[in-house]
């Protein structure tokens, strides 16, 4: 198998009813559904448009609302022999511009809502790039010869997509995935989850993250189906459970915070998601009390803990949890997927003794070739395996782990300032970079309180603003300006929960901002 489109094509040959709905969801135009047959038709039309425009093996941005059509656009880009950069209508313009500047796409595919967003951007794009509505692209006549030609020249090392994740310098970094790495992931994940044509997924993750691979490509491979759950339902968990039951959703792969929200708000006492039989969770630590509530509600369901960084395409490790846990225990991340190896390395690049901590490093076909247009970061994170005497790449995750007595792996903590918040990977430096761009702010420092998952921003005023006489009213006004600035320029999940203005930021004896002291100060004030 060379190309991810083979999943769709084989399914179309095999399923009894090609008009089975593959993806269902809603956008501002209401409920939308696409069958396998329609996905193929839209994808081929879009692919023909791309090849006929003379675009070859180039990045194409797909900037649309989360919907089945966005998935059809992904497939269209692949049919066209290119790779996609998924962007979301909820992303702030600042971040979208940073991403577009990095990839310089040949085409931006949008929909009715996002084309208005583009029209409203006050800063023009820094390069010339065609913008076209997906509904227009789909009217293009199929060019079967051109589509076939694309496939003859395709290899499995070709990129499939680039997704952007928070970068430690403040600028998002693009992780490249290949057809090969995604096929490797889908083959192994579907075995672990036991996916079949009867699987009905309830997708929670945004389509601009690699987390959505779990539902998108497994659905294509097995002729299963997936509901893209409207984000608003996660505010009203009893309604969310009703949605699961009404649509017969039996498999979910959610970030732990989404499962936690349902349990924590008491929804499992008010309603039971009785159609669910497989619950996979990951991307952050699942509080044990919430996990136990789920397990007690659905004693016959399978609970699978997944772990893995975007750089190793999707997930890398799994553990099937078969019992309730004490609150002082942690659920293992278990064992690597088949065809993936996990190596723990200590600071001397040696394998620590069992039970001792080491950095989790990953080896296998699942590895990304690296970051888009960023050799420096690629070389730093994708290193030569110190245990091999031949060229052999491993990815250093920055996560610390240890092996338990049965050989299963446990996650311990991060090595750096990266945090996980609502399932999103966030570099606090990126929050600071955006905050420092605000005129009123002289210097900002972001800390994370993991006891309540609050991102907190401390800042001092810029000289020009601080020079003016300050009273309480003007301070309040400045704080309000800072807040709106952050709202405009940061993705929602990166927005600080609290912001505090200080006369000066505390420093360590070495001259760095004292983050530990700021965090202590925050925790004390909250008591």
């Amino acid at each position: 198998m060379i190309n991810i489109l083979e999943y769709l094509e084989e399914t179309l040959d095999e399923i009894p009813n090609p008009n089975k709905v593959a993806f269902a969801g809603a956008d501002t135009s209401g409920r939308t559904e696409l069958t396998f047959h329609e996905l193929s038709g839209l994808g081929r039309a879009c692919g023909s448009y791309i090849t006929n425009s003379g675009i070859k093996k180039r990045p194409i941005a797909v900037f649309m609302q989360k919907s089945p059509s966005m998935i059809a656009a992904f497939l269209g880009v692949i049919y066209g022999g290119c790779y996609y950069i998924p962007l979301d209508s909820e992303m702030p313009a600042f971040r979208i511009h940073l991403i577009l500047e990095t990839v310089n796409p040949s085409l931006i595919i949008c929909d009715d809502v996002t084309s208005e967003i583009i029209a409203g951007w006050d800063v023009p794009l820094p390069f010339s790039c065609q913008v076209i509505n997906f509904s227009e692209v789909c009217k293009h006549t199929n060019d079967e010869v051109a589509l076939a030609n694309v496939r003859v020249n395709a290899i499995d090392a070709d990129p499939l997509y680039v997704v952007f994740t928070s970068g430690s310098t403040g600028v998002p970094k693009g992780v490249v995935a290949t057809h090969r790495s995604v096929i490797d992931y889908i083959e192994n994940l579907s075995t672990v989850l036991d996916v079949s044509a009867d699987t009905v997924f309830g997708n929670q993750s945004p389509l601009y993250l690699d987390a959505c691979l779990k539902e998108v490509y497994t659905t294509l491979k097995f002729g299963a189906s997936a509901y893209l759950i409207p984000q608003s339902l996660f505010m009203f968990p009893v309604k969310l459970i009703e949605y699961i039951n009404d649509n017969g959703i039996n498999t979910i792969c959610w970030v732990a915070s989404a499962l936690s929200l349902v349990a924590g708000l008491g929804a499992l006492k008010a309603a039971t998601p009785k159609t669910l039989h497989t619950i996979a969770f990951g991307s952050e630590v699942f509080p044990i009390k919430h996990y136990n509530l789920w397990r007690e509600t659905l004693p016959d369901a399978r609970f699978i803990h997944l772990y893995g960084p975007t750089e190793a395409t999707g997930m890398s490790c799994f553990y099937e949890a078969v019992r309730t846990y004490e609150t002082d225990e942690s659920i293992p991340i278990g064992h690597p997927f088949p065809n993936t190896e996990i190596i723990l390395l200590d600071d001397n690049s040696k394998v620590p003794e069992d039970g001792q901590p080491g950095e989790i490093c990953i080896r296998g076909t699942c590895l990304s070739p690296g970051y888009f247009s960023d050799d420096e970061k690629t070389v730093a994170a994708f290193i030569q395996n110190p245990l091999s005497a031949f060229p052999d790449k491993i990815y250093k995750t920055g996560d610390m782990g240890r092996r338990g007595s049965n050989g299963e792996l446990y996650y311990i903590s991060r090595r750096d300032h990266q945090i996980k918040h609502m399932g999103h990977r966030i570099e606090l430096a990126e929050v600071e970079l955006v905050a420092n761009g605000c005129d009123a702010i002289g210097l900002a420092c972001a800390v994370f309180d993991d006891t309540n998952s609050h991102i907190v921003l401390y800042y001092v005023l810029s000289e020009s603003v601080a020079a003016e006489t300050m009273d309480e009213a003007s301070n309040k006004k400045i704080k309000s300006t800072v807040r709106s600035y952050l709202k405009k320029n940061l993705p929602r999940y990166m927005l600080p929960h609290n912001i505090y203005q200080l006369k000066s930021l505390p420093h360590t004896p070495g001259g760095k901002i004292d983050r530990v002291k700021l965090l202590e100060q925050y925790k004390t004030e909250r008591m």
């Binding site: 984000q231 608003s232 505010m235 968990p237 309604k239 708000l265 309603a271």
Partner: protein
Amino acid sequence: MSVLLEILEELHDDVDYSTHTTLIDDNVIDSFDIITLIAEIDDRIGVTIPADELVPENFNSYAAISALVSRLDDDD
């Protein structure tokens, strides 16, 4: 100012809560806010909102949230 209004102003100080009646429908209050809102109402007003009261109608306006909190407070 009522404690509830204080909590809401802390979430969004640019919203006129006296007139806004589509806080949920217009996505002014989102899923991040709802979690904070429920936690703060519990902490500062001492009212726990049960899951079956978590429906859009109860959160679309200041008046609706206020009515919900009073009703639950009376039930105690």
